[in-house]
Every structure is written in structure tokens, then in C-alpha cells.
């Protein structure tokens, strides 16, 4: 191996870069590249190591070889991945860069940009010449020059490009600025009329640039002054800044002042504060005061500002106070001004945590102080308690106490509620609820029972709050005890509801004739309320509210998604109110199933079209289930139109999402009869698209992408029947088990609405008989059996998800069943039971029948062909029939 590598290396270095050899695994370079590409894009960081390490090993040739495949996206993955992979591997990086340089030289113009972008991410000193050469190409200049900027050793090369001046001047100017190439200034000055050059001169210029910038672009001149100051040319910078401060443009004045603040010793800068805070231009004043604080220190600025404070205009004083509040300074000024009633000072006092000042003001009814205390970043509880106790019955203080849950003050509020003075009482009712805890449950309950009408709501809230921190059972028993003795028991229903207990549901349901009980039932958070709500919705005037709450509860507590869907669909069928439908469809949207999709789709043309569109879109994006393409497309297109009509910004997002979903979906295949069957006269019963030739349970049997998906349950209603009846026929179809343990069957000559196993000629069993759940199966129950009459040969089913073909041929009393080409049943049913479909003695025990039962339908002359549903997970397709009677007539 070593020898081969040596030969290879020699070739790379000398012989015209042809990879004529093979690697250790006897692979040519084409194979190495192909092998690597086959493993990309990698699913994670680990998976990319092998292919990329392979490419990296032979980089000088593998890269140009891969580049030839551009613009294929696999080549893009490979080259970009390779660059990333080697970018932290010094030993490999150079070889990949070399390969890229070579590829750039060879590549057609259309691929150069991509390759250069790859190189730009790992380029080093060795790539400077290549990048310089690319700089002259307008299509490559920005990447090339931008990359040179990132290579510290490239300064000379950039200067050389600037000297030549062939590449874009604004790019070169920005490169000079980014690299701090001061020596570029003379050339840039000669380009001063070109875009982007003055900006660069602001960053790297000297005094020589000053006149030009001053005349042409004050904002860049301000920047130049910063540069000069940083260079130590303070005097020039300050002189310029002092002139600029006279500008009419607040932004430029600000920039100049910022320079004056930072470029001078603080002793000299500090007096500027006087001018700043007295300046009539607010944007300048505020910005520079903030900058002064940062540069000179808030304390120093504050002491300066305090001295001038009295002379300021009210607006300027307000700005200073705000700044003081944010910076935690000028406490004395703020305090004095706040006490004098300045709202700016009060706000600042809040930020400074001057709780005492604010509480005093709030106690006097000052709104601004109250507001500041509501949002104060400190613990005000101890002082608040002190103030409230000193000022009993003060609404502001008690309201603050409520928001801080200072429940010790509840008795004060209770006293206020008992007052004869209407305004005191009203204030008490406003503050009491937030102050209540279990300690005052009894007095509050007494007040509630006694209260006059308009006071009830506040006291109900107070009582509910009082018991809120008990557990559910505790809340229930507390409230139930009050109800037993109360004059107005219904006033305690909200508290009962708050308990959330099932006992509360029962109690409220028993009193549901009262509107208060119905309201409380709607508030209760317990799944057992759901059936009660549904029941009440039939008669109670609050139909839509009850149904909405029902849907909420079902959506929250019913974890079986299909049951949840059925429940919501049931609720939806009971009201056409648009708001209710919107709510219910919102709940449907959270069910990511095919059936939920179909349910939501039904409302796309209704008065709840918008929420239906949202549901359809959400489910389509989330579901893992197959949805029939025709329905999928129809509903999503409708949803798209609904979003387009609404036309908001988020609607645009939704439309994009739908477009993406539709682009990923594929139409269902349509079944066409094979030529021989067509010639024989077969008729298609299901071609993959619709159930037009069927009747019965079209909910449990739905067309999904070319197949009928069966989710029907057991029983006479879970069956799908042909439209026509048949006597002698050949019935062909394909079936596929989606999950283990599938059970279904084909009803032969069956009437409608019966159990085909007994009331039809027979049911030809469809069963995943190998599932462990069927371990105790009778042989007359296995797949293909004429159920209970004649056992079929036990076949071995294909794995889940694979399709099998089946043919059932019925002629006279004969039935023949062939699966995947193998005949598993061929029997004369009349002979099998010796002519005794039912027991000769009229009893339920039929000794002639293998299952010992009566099969009264066995001798039926004709009937429908049916599928007999016994649960979810079967797929059927390509269903066709040959009617042998018809053929005979011909």
C-alpha cells in the first residue's frame, strides 16, 4: 500500500495531475468520488466522516473531479462538506484549497462562484494569488476581495490591487477600511467621487481626508474625527468636533459631542454636561446625556447635572430625572421633585426604589406613585404593611397589598365592605378579592350570602380566592358546607366549580335547572362535566357556550384521538354557530389523523371556513397517516383560496406551507383492467379513486391514495356492499394488512344489514391468522375459509405492508378461493353440510355444520358482495368482478 501511495503522490506532483492509479482498495478516482457522493448528504456529523475523509485524502485530484459534476447538488454537498470537514484540520486544509484553486482554473464561469465561495471558507496565504486574480472578475470580485480581508497576510496583495485599481473601487475601499490600510488613503482620495469611498476614508483617513469629507459627507467626517482621535491627533479631532456640534443635524451633533466627551480628559469633558442638558433638541440632549454617563461615570455627571437642575426647562428636567432613575443616581433631587409632584421624578423614584416616598404619595391618592409602586423592582411588602396599618382603609395601599398577596390586610378590606358609606364599600369590594386567603373564608362567605345583587360578583371572587389554595377536595367540602346553610346557595357555585372535583360536577349537574349551576358547570375543569354539558346543550339556552366548553374538555382530556374526533364531530353536528364551529375546528386541528382532516374539510364551505382552513393545513402538516390525494388536494386548494382571500401576513405563510405540502404529495394511481380481464368482461368496482359502485359504511371504508382504507368496526353497520347483486361471479381484489391481527371478510350473496357469516351464502374470511392473538383459532376460521362451514388451507401471509392478490369464484354451490395464485379453498357448500343449512330439529345446534351452528343464508340464490368490517388497519385495492350470469346471457 505504501508503494502505491508513493507512486500516486509522485504523479500528483509531477505528471500533469492525472490520477492514473488506484487507492489501497483498488479504486480509481472516479470510484472514490462516486463512493463518497453516494454517502452524501450525511445524516449527521459522524456519517460524513468516511466519505469526506476519503475525498480529503485525494483532495488535489478529487476536488477538480467532483467539481466537474457541478452544478449537481450532490457535488455541492460534497465540496461544501469537504471544506467544512477540513476547515479545522490543518494537515488536510491545504490540499483541499489546492484542489479548489485547480478547479477554479478549470471550471466554466457558471461554476466559479460556487468554488470560490468554498475556497473563501478555508483560504490562507497560499490562496492569495488565486484570490487576487479573481478580484478582477466582476462576478467574483466581492467574494475574492472579501476573502482577502479575512487573511491577515493579504494586506500587501490588497494594496497591490488598490494600486492597480482594476477591481471594483468600492470593494477595494471597504477592504482597505476593514484591514486598516492607512497607506491606501491617497488612492482612495483620488476616487472620492465614487460610491463607498468616503465611508472608507472615514475609517482609515488622516487629516488629508478632512477637507473632502467635511465638504461632501459630514457623517463620514464625524467618523474621521473618531479615527483621528484614536490616532492621538486629539487637537485636530476636537477642533473638528467643536465645529460639527453646530450642525443642524442632531445625529451629527450627537456623534461630534460623543467624541468631545470621550477624547478629552474628564475634567474638560464634564462641563459639556451643562450644555447637553440645557440643549433644546431633545434627541441630542437625551442621547448625549446617556453617553456622558457612560463615558464620564454616572455619579460625576449626576453631580454636575444636579447643580444646573433648577434652571432646566420642565422637559429637560424630566429627561434628566428619567436618566437619573435608570442610572441609580441623583437620589436627593429625585426625592425632592417627587414630593413636589413631578411625574418624571415619581417614575424615577420607582426605579430608584424610593418606596417610602412613593407609598406616602400613593396613600394621598397620587396615581403616578401608585403606578410606579405597581412595577417597582424591589420588595415593598414590609413598608407597605407599615403604611397600610398607619392608614387604615386606604384603597391604593390595599390594592397594592392585594397585588403582593399581603393577605394580613384582608380584615381592613372586610371592614370597608361593611361600611355604610357607599364609596368606602365600593373601594372595599375592589380591593378585597386579591387580599383573601383561607383565614377569612368564613367572614367572606357570610358577606357573600348577605350581599345585595351588585356586590355579589366581587364577593364571589373574594370567596373563591379565599379557598383557592386548599386542595380540590378541601375546596369542595368548604364550599359545599356553605351551600348547605346558605340562604343563597347558588352564590357559592363558582367556588364549587373552582374545586374542579367530580363531586362538584355531580352537585352542579343536579341543580342544572338553575342558570348559575350551568355557568359553574362550564367553568369546572373536570372531564366528568363533559357528558353533562352535552346533555344540557339540547335544552339550555346557552347551547353554543355549553358545546364550546364540551369541546374544550374533550380536547383536553380525551387522549384517544379517534374518540376525541367522534365527540367533537358530534358536537359540531349540534350547532351551526360560526364562533362555536371555529372553536371546535381549532380542537379538530389538534388531531393529526386522516379522519380529522376529512372532518375539518367538510367545513371549508361553511361559515367557519377560515378555522376549517387552519385545521386542514395543520393536520396535513402534522399527520403521519395517509390521506387520499384527491381529498387532500381538494381541501388544501380550498384552504389556500380562503387564506388568499384573507390576505394578512401570516396568511402568506400559510399559503407557502400549503404549496409545500401539495408539492410533496403524489396523486393516487388509477387502476386499469389488464387486457385479458377487459376482454373477458370484468367490471372495475374500485379503481382507486371513489366508492361510486359501493354502498354502506363509507365512513369506515375510505379511498386513500389508490386503496380503500378500512377502519370500520364490527357489526352490521361496519359493512360495505356492492350496488348490484350477483349470483355467479369471479371477484378479484388485492389486500394488505397495515397492522397485526386484521380481521375482515367477503360476504357472498349477502343481504344488507346482516351478519354475512350466517345470513349470507357465506363469509369468505380475511384474517391475519398468524397473529399471536389468534393462537386458539378454529381451522374453519383461517383466511379463505367459508366461515364456520368449510376450512381453507392455512396459508402463510406476506409480511405487513405487502399486497396479496385474491380471487373468489362462486358458481352454484361451489366457492373457490385463490390467494397469491394458490388455491386454498374449493368446496361445494351444499355438500359440505349435507344439505342442512339449519338444524333439522329446528334447534340452535346444527350437527351437520362444522361450527355446529345454523347458516340460514347458505342456499341464497343471489345477493350483494360485501366487506365485513371488524376493525382498523386493512387496505383493499384493484377490486373488480366478472358477472358470470351476464356472460351466459351473451
Amino acid at each position: 500500500m505504501k508503494k502505491i501511495v508513493t507512486i500516486f503522490a509522485g504523479l500528483v506532483l509531477s505528471a500533469g495531475l492525472v490520477f492514473a492509479q488506484q487507492d489501497a482498495r483498488q479504486r480509481t478516482i472516479d470510484t472514490i468520488v462516486a463512493d463518497a457522493l453516494a454517502q452524501l448528504p450525511a445524516r449527521d456529523a459522524e456519517a460524513r466522516v468516511e466519505p469526506l475523509a476519503d475525498l480529503a485524502k485525494w483532495a488535489p485530484v478529487s476536488v477538480p473531479q467532483t467539481a466537474k459534476l457541478l452544478p449537481q447538488s450532490l457535488a455541492e454537498y460534497a465540496l461544501d462538506g469537504l471544506v467544512t470537514y477540513v476547515s479545522d484540520k490543518l494537515d488536510r486544509k491545504a490540499a483541499v484549497a489546492e484542489g479548489l484553486r485547480r478547479a477554479i482554473a478549470e471550471a466554466p464561469a457558471s461554476n466559479k462562484q460556487f468554488l470560490l465561495a468554498c475556497l473563501s471558507r478555508i483560504a490562507g496565504p497560499a490562496d492569495i494569488d488565486c484570490l487576487s486574480a479573481c478580484a478582477a472578475d466582476p462576478a467574483l470580485a466581492s467574494t475574492a476581495i472579501g476573502t482577502l480581508v479575512a487573511i491577515p497576510e493579504a494586506e500587501d496583495a490588497i494594496m497591490a490591487l488598490i494600486g492597480k485599481g482594476e477591481a471594483d473601487h468600492s470593494l477595494l475601499a471597504s477592504a482597505a477600511a476593514k484591514c486598516g490600510l492607512r497607506q491606501a488613503e491617497p488612492v482612495l482620495l483620488s476616487w472620492n467621487a465614487e460610491p463607498g469611498v468616503l465611508e472608507a476614508l472615514g475609517v482609515i483617513g488622516s487629516e488629508a481626508s478632512a477637507p473632502v469629507l467635511k465638504a461632501q459627507s459630514p457623517v463620514d467626517y464625524a467618523r474621521l474625527l473618531q479615527t483621528l482621535a484614536a490616532d492621538g491627533k486629539t487637537a485636530v479631532a476636537l477642533k473638528g468636533a467643536k465645529e460639527l456640534v453646530k450642525s443642524e443635524n442632531a445625529a451629527i451633533r450627537t456623534a461630534a459631542t460623543n467624541l468631545l466627551l470621550s477624547a478629552q480628559p474628564s475634567k474638560k469633558a464634564l462641563p459639556l454636561v451643562d450644555k447637553i442638558i440645557a440643549d433644546p433638541d431633545r434627541s441630542y440632549r437625551v442621547a448625549c446625556l446617556s453617553e456622558a454617563g457612560k463615558v464620564l461615570g454616572a455619579e460625576a455627571v449626576a453631580s454636575r447635572a444636579s447643580k444646573r437642575f433648577k434652571k432646566l426647562s420642565p422637559e429637560a428636567a424630566g429627561d434628566v430625572l428619567y436618566w437619573a432613575g435608570c442610572n441609580g443616581v441623583m437620589g436627593e433631587t429625585v426625592r425632592a421633585e417627587a414630593l413636589a409632584g413631578s411625574e418624571d421624578a415619581i417614575e424615577a423614584a420607582g426605579r430608584l426604589g424610593q418606596t417610602d416616598v412613593l407609598l406616602g404619595l400613593a396613600a394621598e391618592g397620587n396615581k403616578a406613585a401608585y403606578k410606579a409602586l405597581e412595577r417597582i423592582p424591589g420588595d415593598i411588602r414590609p413598608e407597605l404593611l407599615k403604611y397600610a396599618e398607619a392608614n387604615p382603609g386606604n384603597e391604593n395601599l390595599l390594592a397594592l397589598a392585594g397585588s403582593r398577596r399581603l393577605t394580613d390586610l384582608a380584615p381592613q378590606a372586610i371592614e370597608m365592605v361593611k361600611s355604610d358609606d357607599a364609596s368606602v364599600k365600593a373601594a372595599g369590594l375592589r380591593v378585597l378579592p386579591a387580599l383573601c386567603d383561607a383565614k377569612v373564608a368564613a367572614p367572606v362567605a357570610a358577606l357573600l350570602d348577605d350581599a345585595s345583587g351588585s356586590d355579589v360578583a366581587a364577593l364571589q371572587q373574594a370567596y373563591s380566592n379565599a379557598i383557592r389554595n386548599l386542595d380540590g377536595a378541601g375546596q369542595y367540602s368548604e364550599a359545599a358546607a356553605r351551600i348547605r346553610t346558605a340562604v343563597n346557595p347558588e352564590r357559592f357555585y363558582p367556588a364549587l366549580a373552582q374545586s374542579g372535583s367530580a363531586d362538584a360536577v355531580a352537585k352542579l349537574a343536579a341543580n342544572a335547572a338553575r342558570p348559575e349551576a350551568r355557568q359553574a358547570l362550564m367553568a369546572i375543569d373536570n372531564p366528568s362535566a363533559a357528558p353533562e354539558l352535552l346533555r344540557l346543550s339540547k335544552t339550555a339556552p346557552e347551547k353554543n357556550a355549553l358545546l364550546s366548553r364540551y369541546v374544550e374538555l374533550v380536547s383536553t382530556y380525551e387522549s384517544d384521538l379517534d374518540k376525541r374526533r367522534v365527540d367533537i364531530a358530534n358536537a359540531l353536528s349540534r350547532s351551526d354557530d360560526a364562533d362555536f364551529r371555529g372553536k371546535a375546528l381549532g380542537a379538530v386541528a389538534k388531531i393529526p389523523t386522516m379522519k380529522a382532516f376529512l372532518l375539518a374539510g367538510k367545513y371549508l364551505d361553511s361559515n367557519a371556513a377560515y378555522p376549517a382552513a387552519a385545521a386542514v393545513r395543520t393536520i396535513a402538516a402534522k399527520t403521519n397517516e395517509e390521506i387520499d390525494y384527491a381529498r387532500y388536494k381538494e381541501y388544501l386548494e380550498k384552504a389556500k383560496a380562503i387564506y388568499a382571500a384573507r390576505g394578512g401576513a401570516d396568511d402568506g405563510y400559510s399559503i407557502d406551507q400549503i404549496n409545500g405540502l401539495l408539492a410533496d404529495a403524489e396523486p393516487s394511481p388509477i387502476f386499469v383492467l389488464p387486457a385479458d380481464e377487459a376482454a373477458q368482461g370484468f367490471e372495475i368496482l374500485f379503481d382507486g379513486t371513489n366508492l361510486d359502485k359501493w354502498q354502506g359504511d363509507k365512513e369506515g371504508y375510505t379511498p386513500v391514495n389508490g386503496a380503500i382504507y378500512v377502519s370500520a368496526g364490527y357489526g352490521a353497520t361496519g359493512n360495505l356492499y356492492t350496488i348490484k347483486e350477483y349470483r355467479n361471479f369471479v371477484f378479484r381484489f388485492e389486500f394488505c394488512f397495515v397492522r397485526e391481527g386484521i380481521n375482515n371478510g367477503v360476504g357472498i350473496r349477502t343481504p344488507m344489514g346482516v351478519d354475512a357469516a350466517f345470513d349470507a351464502m357465506c363469509e369468505c374470511q380475511i384474517l391475519d391468522h398468524d397473529a399471536p392473538m389468534y393462537a386458539g383459532l378454529h381451522d374453519y376460521q383461517v383466511h379463505g375459509s367459508a366461515y364456520g362451514i368449510v376450512p381453507a388451507k392455512r396459508l402463510v401471509h406476506k409480511p405487513l405492508g405487502e399486497w396479496s392478490t385474491e380471487e373468489i369464484r362462486v358458481e352454484g354451490d361451489r366457492i373457490k378461493c385463490t390467494v397469491n395464485g394458490e388455491v386454498i379453498l374449493d368446496a361445494d357448500l351444499r355438500k359440505a353440510c349435507k344439505g342442512h343449512a339449519v338444524a333439522p330439529d329446528g334447534s340452535n345446534h346444527n350437527p351437520y355444520m362444522i361450527d355446529g351452528r345454523n347458516h340460514p343464508g347458505l342456499f341464497r340464490e343471489r345477493g350483494y358482495i360485501s366487506f365485513c368490517g371488524h376493525g382498523d388497519g386493512l387496505k383493499l385495492r384493484n377490486i373488480r368482478v366478472l358477472d358470470l350470469e351476464k356472460k351466459k346471457k351473451k
Binding site: 455541492e76 462562484q113 478555508i122 475601499a173 443642524e248 394578512g648
Partner: protein, 434 residues
């Protein structure tokens, strides 16, 4: 240098002094409390009148702030905006094709940047230099270096900046069923313990909009005549036109943004920076689990995990890779908070009420402009959360873990990652953000 509208008004005012000293109620709309004098009314221009710029939230004009001009590189967008302005609020909007003209329009006080994000940095810097206040849509900038330039320009020129996401101070925070404030109080109180892990995932009520992925190998299409594609690209590398690159779907391309992470990242992460008290710092490490990314088209990812120096973590879970079972939004050694503010700490709301509030914040942007106060989500905070997003985007782009120095704001020991921090730009835009 262009005069600002204010200085113009001031000068004009000298000739009509009597006019300006009349009390406000005499000036017009007598008795209408909503009346705002023209000199108190702010004006705004929108750059980019596509989806976001035209949305009901932003395409508005009222007494406090009049919409006066619009700009777009798509003539259809521009025509639609002018038409809508006339219909909706009877305003003859000034229409610009070149955003620089809008930025330097003396009649505009506030520049509203609603373009794709590869333009945000350049436009914000130029607006600040022109003395405008700035309302910028999220994500703030596409690279970390651009954000640094915006911060400097806004500070140098004394401007007011707002980044437009709002969950840190307003509205129910997605699946959390609560505003951010109580979470902030709970976290600051230490009741959950420390360090904390925040999970931003479908399991906690957040969606990453993975439909914002790009397409590989687009076949070039002719540029529609209404679109100035070169101006649309601006600083971004030239790539042949395809409709999927522009307008509603541009986010799926690294040249302009970084997919769902770029779109929703700042929305989701900005409040977390606030909740965790990280507004003045950055994570020190980011780990990423994702399939290899295409160099042009942004793809999906399984998870992105940020770790701060103190051990706090933010875990982003991609769609389809959410944790199973009941998953807390915030988890600490002493407690957990779930969707809908369900918390393992008993009586948590009462406990929160007893706690001190976080510092008050200025959440009315127009007030901030008028009173020259920093907005609750200003350029500095915005740059911090945008940087968290961009750190993640760099790790995703490279498909590897990265260590980040929160002081120098550069990756440690990864040159390739650092080259993503400041990327080449096309002329003449490269020199507009120095």
C-alpha cells in the same frame, strides 16, 4: 447633508411664530381628544412592502404616526402599497424604488425595515447615519458583525431603535399560556433553582416552521420585469434568479436568512434571554444535531443546544424530533414549569405575586421616539438575541459544535466559523457598513 424635517419646521416656524404659539385646541379638530398637532406627529416610511410590510400590523397610519412613504424593488408591491395607502387611509404615499432615497427623505422620522434580513444591517446603519429612528423586523441581522455595526451606528448618532419581536414584554408567549413577566419573576426568585434548562420545542408549544427550507439545484428562470433582482440581492452573492429565492420563500437560503431558525429563532429566544437574565452575555457553546446542510438551501435539524457559562441551557428541538411525554418548558433543580404555566411549585402564582417585579420597561415605541427613551427591545438587546440565533445558524451551517467567547464575540479555535461572522458583500454595499 440633508436637513431633517424638524429643522425645516423650526426654520419655517420663524416666519409664522404666531401660528406655533396658538394653543393646540385652536389649531383644529376642536374638542377632539385624538387630535395631534402636526409637529407632534411622527412620520414613518416602510422599506419592503411585501408580506410583513403590508400586514395589518404594520401597514397602518394614524394620528400619532403617519405613514408617508414606501419603498420596494418589486414594482407590483410598490403599486399595491400606494393603492392601498390611498384606499385605506387616504394618503398619497411617496413611492421609492431605491431605499436610500427613503432613508434620506426629510419627511420621514422613522425608517421601518421590513425587507429580507440580508439587508437589515446595511439599512439600519444608513438610517442611523441619516438621523432616523429605526423600526426593524426580526431577525435583526444576518451576521454577528452586521449587528455590531448597527449597535455602533445607533449609539454614535443617538438614535432610537426597536427590534420587532415583542414576547419579552407583551402577549401570551406561544404555548406557555402566559406572558413572560411571571416567568421572569419565577426564574429570578430562584424558586426553580439554578442552572435552568429551557426547551423550545413542539412539546412545549413552539413550532420551528420547517417549511422554510430551500430547494437545491434551482433551474434559473427569467427575472420578472417588475422586479429589480440585483437590488433585491443587494449585498448577497449573485445567484441566478428563481422565484423560490425571493419574496415569501427567501428564508430557505443561507444567503438571505437561515430557515425556520432565522425566522422564529429571535421570536422564541429573545424572551428566554430576558427570562434567564442573559441580555448582557451570550452562550459559550452550541451543539447541533442535524443532517448535512446544503451550501445554498437551508435544511432541517434535530436539535440545537446552547450552553451558557453558568450551565444554563436552551434546547431547540426540531419538528419531528420533540421529546416525548410531558416536557417542561423550564426545568431547574428545584422545580419545573410546563405549558400553560403549570408548575411543580405549589401555589406558584401567589408566590410570584409576593415577589418584587422586574424593572419597568418602555414598551411604546412611539413614546420612546418622542421622549428619546430606549425601547424595551433596543439595538443592544436585539443584537444579543440575534447573535444567539446566528451562533446556532453557524453551527448548523457547519454541522458541528462551536465554542463562543462571549467577550470578544468570536468562535474559539474555529476559523471557518469565524468567517461566517463577517461575510463578503457585493459592491457598493460592502462599504456602507464599515
Amino acid at each position: 447633508m440633508s436637513e431633517t424635517r424638524r429643522s425645516f419646521l423650526k426654520k419655517a416656524g420663524a416666519g409664522v411664530a404666531a401660528f406655533t404659539i396658538l394653543p393646540r385646541h385652536v389649531l383644529g379638530a376642536m374638542g377632539n381628544p385624538k387630535y395631534v398637532a402636526p409637529s407632534d406627529q411622527l412620520t414613518r416610511g416602510i422599506i419592503g412592502v411585501g408580506g410583513i410590510g403590508m400586514s395589518g400590523l404594520h401597514f397602518v397610519s394614524d394620528e400619532r404616526c403617519r405613514l408617508v412613504s414606501v419603498c420596494d424593488v418589486d414594482q407590483n408591491h410598490l403599486d399595491r402599497a400606494v393603492r392601498t395607502g390611498k384606499e385605506r387611509f387616504g394618503e398619497q404615499l411617496k413611492a421609492y424604488h431605491d431605499w436610500r432615497d427613503l432613508v434620506h427623505d426629510p419627511n420621514v422620522d422613522i425608517v421601518h425595515i421590513a425587507t429580507p434580513s440580508h439587508w437589515h444591517g446595511i439599512m439600519a446603519v444608513e438610517a442611523a447615519r441619516a438621523g432616523k429612528d429605526i423600526f426593524c423586523e426580526k431577525p435583526m441581522t444576518r451576521t454577528i458583525a452586521e449587528g455590531e455595526k448597527v449597535v455602533k451606528a445607533v449609539r454614535d448618532n443617538g438614535r432610537i431603535f426597536r427590534l420587532d419581536t415583542w414576547f419579552r414584554f407583551k402577549d401570551t408567549f406561544y404555548g406557555l399560556g402566559t406572558t413572560v413577566e411571571p416567568l421572569k419573576k419565577l426564574v429570578s426568585s430562584g424558586l426553580l433553582g439554578w442552572p435552568l434548562t429551557v426547551r423550545i420545542s413542539g412539546a412545549t408549544g413552539f413550532t420551528w416552521k420547517f417549511f422554510w427550507t430551500g430547494k437545491e439545484n434551482l433551474v434559473p428562470q427569467p427575472v420578472p420585469k417588475e422586479l429589480d433582482y440585483d437590488m433585491w440581492l443587494g449585498p448577497a452573492p449573485y445567484k441566478p434568479y428563481h422565484p423560490h429565492r425571493v419574496h415569501q420563500t427567501f428564508r430557505g437560503y443561507w444567503d438571505y436568512e437561515s430557515g425556520g431558525l432565522g425566522d422564529m429563532g429571535q421570536h422564541y429566544i429573545d424572551p428566554v434571554q430576558y427570562i434567564l437574565g442573559k441580555d448582557d452575555t451570550y452562550p459559550v457553546r452550541v451543539d447541533v444535531d442535524a443532517p448535512q446542510q446544503h451550501p445554498d438551501a437551508v435544511g432541517t435539524w434535530r436539535s440545537i443546544t446552547y450552553t451558557y457559562a453558568d450551565g444554563c441551557r436552551i434546547i431547540l428541538e426540531g419538528e419531528g424530533y420533540e421529546s416525548k411525554g410531558k416536557v417542561p418548558y423550564i426545568e431547574g433543580p428545584l422545580g419545573k414549569v410546563y405549558k400553560g404555566f403549570e408548575c411543580t411549585i405549589p401555589n406558584v402564582m401567589d408566590k410570584i405575586a409576593e415577589l418584587p417585579d422586574p424593572a419597568p420597561r418602555n414598551t411604546d415605541f412611539l413614546d420612546c421616539v418622542k421622549n428619546r427613551r430606549h425601547f424595551a427591545l433596543d439595538e443592544i438587546i436585539g443584537h444579543h438575541s440575534a447573535t444567539v440565533v446566528n451562533i446556532g445558524a453557524c453551527a448548523l451551517r457547519l454541522g458541528r459544535s462551536l465554542d463562543f467567547d462571549p467577550v470578544t464575540c468570536r468562535f474559539i479555535g474555529d476559523d471557518a466559523a469565524n468567517r461566517l461572522i463577517d461575510q463578503p458583500m457585493r459592491a457598493p454595499w460592502a462599504s456602507m457598513i464599515l
